[in-house]
């Protein structure tokens, strides 16, 4: 009854993109997005909004919707329960390998990180900003989570992730835990950020393993975020740097119109 097939989506761009073209095509994608809003307004017609085809009006609809999305960020932060744990599952329910998804379409487009030269850089409101090698991170105490991954598109699966607890890691490096945001700067300048309360949630980890083995390249090797309190797209893969800050900056997906807080 519920047979699902992969459908076109912005989460997986329709065409696989050449990495060098990615930055140039971003403007094009945003142009598509604006036209998408125009179409939405036209579909609604005069019944809900007195919008015409004028570009400025179409942008005002998008501005209004984004304002509501920001309001929804605040509501989500207000109802967030910092110590409320998500359901966990048994090893027999784990899907292997995990389902691939990224901001680009094809798994062949994954550009692997060289784990021997990779270092995790630290920035912002952190006392000890010395970079970490993969080996150093592997020696930290690990936390294992068998948890549900929920994609904004609607699908979900159970995965088994392990790595250092983010709260423990932030404490260890002397991060200001009263700061507002934790930013993840990743491959290709992909950025994602989460609020500090979610970063300090007991089920938020820097995952380096899946089902007991080192992460494979498509799933974020050598280090990625996994948390039970955010939608899939907030779980940044291929992390290169972590920044703790009080300054809000739009991230890859929030620039595309996705909700920033994206809590679940």
């Amino acid at each position: 009854m519920s047979i699902r097939i992969r459908t076109p989506s912005l989460i997986r761009l329709r065409k696989s993109v050449d990495r060098t073209v990615l930055k140039e095509s971003r403007a094009l994608v945003e142009d598509f997005n604006r036209r998408g809003v125009l179409r939405g307004a036209l579909t609604l017609g005069a019944l809900t909004m007195l919008t015409g085809c004028d570009v400025s009006e179409e942008e005002s609809v998008q501005n209004g919707l984004r304002a509501v999305s920001s309001w929804n960020d605040a509501v989500q932060a207000a109802i967030f329960r910092p110590d409320h744990l998500a359901r966990t599952f048994s090893p027999s329910q784990v899907v292997k390998p995990p389902r691939f998804n990224a901001y680009f379409h094809a798994i062949e487009d994954v550009r692997p990180i060289n784990g021997t030269t990779w270092k995790l850089e630290l920035a912002g409101l952190i006392k000890d900003k010395r970079p970490w090698t993969a080996q150093q991170i592997y020696q930290l105490p690990e936390q294992e989570l068998i948890i549900r991954h929920i994609c904004v598109e609607g699908w979900d699966y159970i995965g088994q992730w392990s790595g250092p607890n983010l709260r423990a890691f932030l404490t260890r490096i002397g991060a200001d835990l009263t700061a507002k945001y934790v930013y993840f700067i990743c491959n290709d300048d992909f950025t994602e950020s989460i609020d500090m309360a979610s970063a300090l949630h007991p089920q938020t980890i820097l995952a380096s393993k899946y089902a007991g083995a080192l992460l494979a390249d498509p799933f974020g090797y050598p280090l990625r975020l996994r948390t039970t309190v955010k939608l899939g797209y907030k779980n940044a893969k291929w992390i290169r740097a972590i920044e703790v800050t009080n300054t809000f900056r739009p991230t890859f997906w929030s620039k595309q119109g996705e909700n920033w807080f994206a809590g679940i």
């Binding site: 989506s9 998408g36 939405g40 609604l44 809900t48 998500a86 929920i150 609607g154 595309q256 909700n259």
Partner: protein, 233 residues
């Protein structure tokens, strides 16, 4: 003052079938439902539940999924706040009790039979027949359930006490979808009948016939023959 003028003056002060707050809430709800369904179909299209069902692009709100989501999470405030006001109004003013109850199964079957033989009378807009009562009550309950399942989809962890009552996330999606289907079916019947009996559509704009304690007088004022029992022909 002539007797006719007295009656008219009196009539203006008497409540109408659909009081103004109710009419406002009805049309706000119509807009909210329109936004929620159009944007919901856009969201559905991004990860379909049924291989045979993908909503055509010209019917959905939002070119891309994230715009569908923006509309959905904007519309939800209108739908939920207005729906909450409507239910509170229906309960506190006694309108639900008065208009939707009691419902007898026998009456439902008789009315349904009449409806299928196209023998329903719509002379009296002020009294709902048993099928109407069932559908109106049903769609209110479905509306509540679609909000509950919607909250479980939005916040399956924060609201895990409710969300975990369902056996999986996909089950919640499916139920949310089925509630939407029920509302779409209701809207189809509701709009069709409103167009077939235009007075009922006008009544939801102007307020409709003036009500009175005496059913005879109310019927007379609305220009309808006296009929308080929908079974009486």
């Amino acid at each position: 003052m002539s007797p006719i003028a007295a009656v008219q003056s009196n009539a203006r002060q008497r409540p109408r079938l659909h009081p103004l707050p109710l009419r406002i809430m009805h049309w706000i709800n119509a807009v909210a439902i329109f936004i929620m369904i159009g944007s919901g179909w856009r969201i559905y299209n991004d990860d379909i539940l049924f291989r045979w069902l993908q909503f055509p692009e010209f019917l959905v709100i939002g070119k891309w999924a994230q715009y569908g989501l923006q509309w959905h999470f904007f519309g939800m405030w209108i739908f939920v706040l207005n729906g909450f006001a409507y239910v509170a109004y229906g309960i506190l003013t006694g309108r639900f009790r008065q208009k939707l109850f009691p419902i007898s199964i026998r009456e439902v079957l008789v009315t349904l039979g009449d409806a299928l033989r196209l023998r329903l009378s719509h002379e009296d807009l002020t009294a709902y027949n048993a099928v109407q009562k069932t559908l109106y009550l049903g769609v209110i309950l479905v509306g509540m359930f679609i909000v509950i399942t919607g909250l479980c989809l939005w916040k399956p962890v924060q609201f895990s006490e409710v969300a975990d009552l369902f056996d999986s996330f996909q089950t919640i999606r499916l139920i949310h979808f089925l509630c939407m289907s029920a509302i779409v079916a209701f809207v189809a019947v509701h709009v069709t009948l409103a167009l077939l009996v235009p007075r009922s559509l006008v009544a939801m704009i102007t307020g409709g016939p003036v009500l009175d304690d005496s059913p005879v007088e109310a019927a007379a004022l609305s220009g309808a023959p006296t009929r308080s029992n929908p079974l009486a022909r």
